[in-house]
Structure formats: structure tokens, C-alpha cells
């Protein structure tokens, strides 16, 4: 094992890890605010990426505009999902599984719609700094990947500030921790839940726009990302955005190192086994609060 190979695998693991973590971050935001597992998070990212692609390619507008379009599309979609899927389920007293299944249905719908419109091909979104690579010990890392890491970290910090220091953030947390108590002090719990979903959608759309240059847009991208993001979020304790990123990076690194040190065929076996071991050994996840047992 050369230094180059080790460094390359760590860089790849880090990059993929932040990809998973960004999706996990969205799942954590929505769970924190609404106590709902959103099976559509990866598809919010897919929608963000698709809209950015359409705006950049079909309308020919510059990339920054496309990025804003993608992020907005994610937020709008999430808002609609909350109104059309989540609210009716809540009104009819759905169980936890109902929310999971209804968002799963939404994920299938988005995936099918992208398949219908785009077909089975994959599409490329240009990244920040194009395809430029950075050389580290003769291993390569895309400039865009570095930006991905920087922006993800910024998002985590912004969220932390938002929940801790703004009235809106505090209201959103309150409605999720104790809906009845929040109602009595005048917080519009329903509205807070809509905001939570919208915030999750914005994070998702941003994730899509940042992730697409690395992994290509294609119709199956949504569910695959959701699975990985789910693992990342759970490892991180399900309610902590920072934990989700950390969980994602852990997962990404384990995958990469498993390929390089053990074998590429058994990568998922190693990663998934480690996931199970970590969950059994640390019931709160890596950054969750005590008393939570995996939700």
C-alpha cells in the first residue's frame, strides 16, 4: 500500500462522506423539526440537480442562477410535500410507518418522473472550478470537492446559529419537542412544520447542486442517496446536523478504506457490518442526546 493509494482513498472517502452527510443533514433537519423520517431527501437533491441542469442547459443561464433555481426547486418541492403528503397523513392519524411510506411513495414518484423526462442516461453538471484537480501526495482531489466540504461546513454552522439564536429557529425546535406546549405559547405549530420541511428541501436542493457534478444526475440517484444519507443521519444521532456530516464522513471513509485494504467486492459488507456494530455499541449515535434509543 503506497502513500498515494492511502491518501487517494482517504480523499475519496472524505468526498463521498460529505456527499452522504449533506443528505443526512437534510434528514436530520426534518427529523429535528417534525419527527418524521423523510424518505424523499435524496429526491429533493435530485430535483435540485435536475432544475439546475435545465436552467443551465435549456435556458442557457449562468451557473449561479442555475444553483439558485435548484435550491429554490428543492425548497418548493418540500413545501408541497408537506402540504400534500404529510399534512393529510397527519390529519388521518397516520403512524410512524405511514409517514415513511408516504414519503417513499413520493420518492418513487420523483424517480419515475425523472425517468420519464430524462430517460436512463446520466447527465453532467459542471462543478466549481470545472474539472480541475488538486494534487496531494500524487493523489488527486477535485477542486469542486473541496468547495463541497467548505460549503457543507458552512451550512452546519449556519444551522447551528439559526436554531440557537433566532426566534424562528427556536420556535421550530419548540414545536417539535413539545407541540402542545408550543401551541399554548402561541407558536403556529403547523406553520413551523411547513418551515422545517422547506428548510429541509432547501438543504436538499443545495445538496443536489453540490453533489451532481461529482456523481452525475440519473433517475435512480434519489433513493441511493437517501439510503446513505439515512445511515449518516442515524450514525450522527438523527437530530444533529453536525452529527449527520460526521456520520457521513465515517461511512465514506470506511467504504473507501474497505475497498483499498480488504477488497472492492466486500466493501458494502464491511461498511454495513461496522454500521451495525457502531449502533449496538453506541445507542445514542455519535452525537445524539442521552435517552434517545434510535428514535
Amino acid at each position: 500500500m503506497t502513500v498515494t493509494l492511502l491518501v487517494q482513498s482517504i480523499l475519496a472517502g472524505l468526498t463521498n462522506g460529505y456527499v452522504y452527510g449533506l443528505i443526512g443533514l437534510g434528514i436530520a433537519v426534518i427529523f429535528r423539526g417534525a419527527r418524521i423520517i423523510n424518505a424523499m431527501q435524496g429526491d429533493f437533491a435530485l430535483i435540485g440537480a435536475v432544475f439546475a441542469y435545465l436552467v443551465a442547459n435549456n435556458l442557457g443561464l449562468p451557473m449561479p442562477v442555475a444553483v439558485v433555481a435548484g435550491v429554490t426547486a428543492g425548497g418548493v418541492t418540500a413545501f408541497l410535500v408537506e402540504r400534500l403528503l404529510v399534512r393529510p397523513t397527519a390529519k388521518r392519524r397516520g403512524t410512524d410507518d405511514s409517514y415513511l411510506l408516504v414519503t417513499l411513495g413520493g420518492a418513487f414518484a420523483v424517480s419515475a418522473a425523472v425517468l420519464l423526462y430524462f430517460g436512463r442516461d446520466s447527465y453532467v453538471l459542471p462543478g466549481i472550478g470545472g474539472n480541475k484537480l488538486v494534487d496531494i501526495f500524487d493523489a488527486a482531489m477535485r477542486v469542486h470537492a473541496i468547495w463541497l466540504i467548505v460549503i457543507s461546513t458552512a451550512v452546519v454552522l449556519v444551522l447551528r446559529w439559526f436554531y440557537a439564536s433566532t426566534r424562528l429557529g427556536q420556535a421550530m425546535l419548540a414545536s417539535s419537542i413539545d407541540p402542545e406546549g408550543a401551541l399554548t405559547i402561541g407558536i403556529n405549530v403547523g406553520l413551523m412544520r411547513s418551515f422545517t420541511f422547506t428548510l429541509g428541501g432547501i438543504v436538499g436542493g443545495l445538496a443536489g447542486v453540490l453533489v451532481a457534478p461529482l456523481i452525475n444526475i440519473h433517475y435512480e440517484m434519489g433513493l441511493l442517496l437517501t439510503l446513505k444519507g439515512f445511515a449518516a443521519a442515524i450514525l450522527g444521532g438523527l437530530t444533529s446536523p453536525f452529527g449527520a456530516i460526521f456520520g457521513g464522513v465515517l461511512l465514506g471513509l470506511v467504504e473507501s478504506l474497505a475497498v483499498v485494504m480488504i477488497s472492492s467486492g466486500y466493501k458494502d459488507v464491511v461498511a454495513m457490518s461496522l454500521l451495525i456494530v457502531i449502533m449496538i455499541a453506541m445507542p445514542q449515535g455519535l452525537f445524539g442526546r442521552r435517552g434517545r434509543q434510535g428514535g
Binding site: 493509494l5 475519496a12 446520466s122 500524487d138 456523481i215 452525475n216 475497498v259
Partner: protein, 254 residues
């Protein structure tokens, strides 16, 4: 009733069918074509293989079976799952063994991009499944220095293919490749068989009418052959993808 399929020979159970005709070569032939090119033209000894667990695995199994015959060494063989979004780690492992050439056998563009991104400079040889313009678009700026053993290079067709290529270009204003040619051949073979068998023919008669040598645009078939395809090595042409364009190479196989 005859069934024409657009895949190479698959699970052994297919051999028990009498009228199952394949318009694409078995993976063993594809593997042989790849090895012919790298041993006879590039004269290599060490090969790295990056393949997916579906189509890539099937071809790689055949490559493993032919390894000794061609006297080459597979110094690195790495695999990834079919929908994988990133295979940088696997590509880096291939780079570390420093092969003379890299086989990339997959149904997505991802491995091709990752291979170049980890700075593998060696030539890439792939399989017919990736030789389409959709893949070229997916490769982006990495659509360069990739060799395909295939059958139709629309920009420079063989004499037997010129009629098809001209007709396709006139109708669709685009350049055809292997799968389009296979479709053309399939329809023509069916039409010829119906003509030969006559207006009162049963499906069995039509199937029998097809069961023999057939000359096509993509390749020459012989459905009475035991691999249900009958494509010969001599039907292969080798193309090199250079800056997003396919060029027909001089190299041929017998």
C-alpha cells in the same frame, strides 16, 4: 416461434431453445476481441480490470478463462456495484499496480471518469456495451484514448455497412452505431425469412428459414451455430475514441 434477442448468449438454459437467435456476440467473443487487441497491437503483459458486478462480471469471467491462452497477467481486478456513484478508491487501486492497459467494463460512465481523475494515463479498452454516443456524452472531457472492439463505426463504415449508415443518416440526421445496426439487421432477417418461407408458413417454418447464415450490416451471423449467434472474430472492427469522436483503427482480427 423464433425469438431474436439483442444480447449475447446468457445463462446456459438458453442453449436448450432451438429458435433463440442472438444478434450480439457472446461475452466470450467480446473478451477475446479485447485480448486480441491488447496482445497483438499493444503487446502488453499486465492488465488492470475495473468492472461492475453485472455486465462487467460476466465479461470478466470470460477474460479470466482466456488469460492463460493469451499469456497475460491481470495484476489488478476491482469491482463495484452497478449503480455506484463513485469508484475512485477502486480506480486508485488499479493505478497502484501500474498496469500497461486498463479494461473498464461497466454500464455507466462513472468508472471511465474516475479512472482518468486518479491520473491513470494508460490506454483504456472497453466493451461494446459502452460504445454509444450517450456514453460519450457521459464521459465529458474524458472521452479520449478509449478503444472499443465493436462492429459499426458510423463515421467510417465498412463497405457492407455503407447502405445502412447512409439510410440512417438520411432518416435521423445522426450517426448510427452497433445497436442501431443490429435492429436494422433483425428486421431484415425477419422479412427475408418470411419471404423465403412463403405466405402459408407457420412460425416454426419461419424460424427454420432463419436458422442458417445471414449477412447483416452489423455483422455476419449464422444462427445454426452452437452459440446461437455465429458472429466471427473477423466481423469485429476496432475504434478509438479520440476527443469525443470514434476513429476506425487499422487493426483487425481474424
Amino acid at each position: 416461434m423464433a425469438e431474436l434477442c439483442f444480447t449475447g448468449l446468457g445463462p446456459k438454459i438458453e442453449l436448450s431453445y432451438k429458435s433463440l437467435y442472438h444478434l450480439l456476440p457472446p461475452q466470450e467473443l467480446n473478451a477475446r476481441a479485447m485480448l486480441e487487441y491488447v496482445t497483438k497491437e499493444l503487446k502488453v503483459k499486465k492488465i488492470g480490470i475495473l468492472h461492475d458486478t453485472g455486465y462487467g462480471q460476466v465479461v470478466t469471467n470470460q477474460l479470466n478463462g482466456l488469460r492463460e491462452k493469451y499469456g497475460v497477467e491481470f495484476s489488478g481486478v476491482e469491482k463495484f456495484e452497478v449503480g455506484a456513484s463513485d469508484v475512485t478508491a477502486q480506480a486508485a487501486k488499479i493505478r497502484a499496480v501500474n498496469p500497461d492497459v486498463v479494461f473498464v467494463i461497466a454500464t455507466s460512465a462513472v468508472p471511465f471518469r474516475n479512472v482518468r481523475q486518479v491520473k491513470i494515463e494508460q490506454p483504456i479498452v472497453s466493451a461494446i456495451g459502452s460504445a454509444t454516443y450517450d456514453y460519450v456524452r457521459g464521459f465529458g472531457e474524458y472521452a479520449d484514448n478509449i478503444v472499443f472492439p465493436e462492429f459499426v463505426v458510423g463515421e467510417d463504415p465498412k463497405d457492407s455497412q455503407k447502405e445502412f449508415v447512409a439510410a440512417f443518416q438520411k432518416e435521423y440526421n445522426a450517426v448510427p452505431k452497433n445497436f442501431e445496426a443490429a435492429a436494422w439487421d433483425a428486421v431484415h432477417i425477419i422479412a427475408k425469412a418470411i419471404e423465403k418461407a412463403g405466405p402459408t408458413a407457420t412460425p416454426k417454418d419461419i424460424a427454420a428459414a432463419m436458422r442458417g447464415p445471414q449477412a447483416g450490416a452489423m455483422a455476419n451471423y449464422d444462427f445454426s451455430n452452437e452459440d446461437q449467434t455465429g458472429i466471427e472474430m473477423s466481423s469485429y472492427v476496432f475504434s478509438k475514441l479520440t476527443k469525443g469522436k470514434f476513429e476506425r483503427l487499422q487493426f483487425t482480427t481474424k
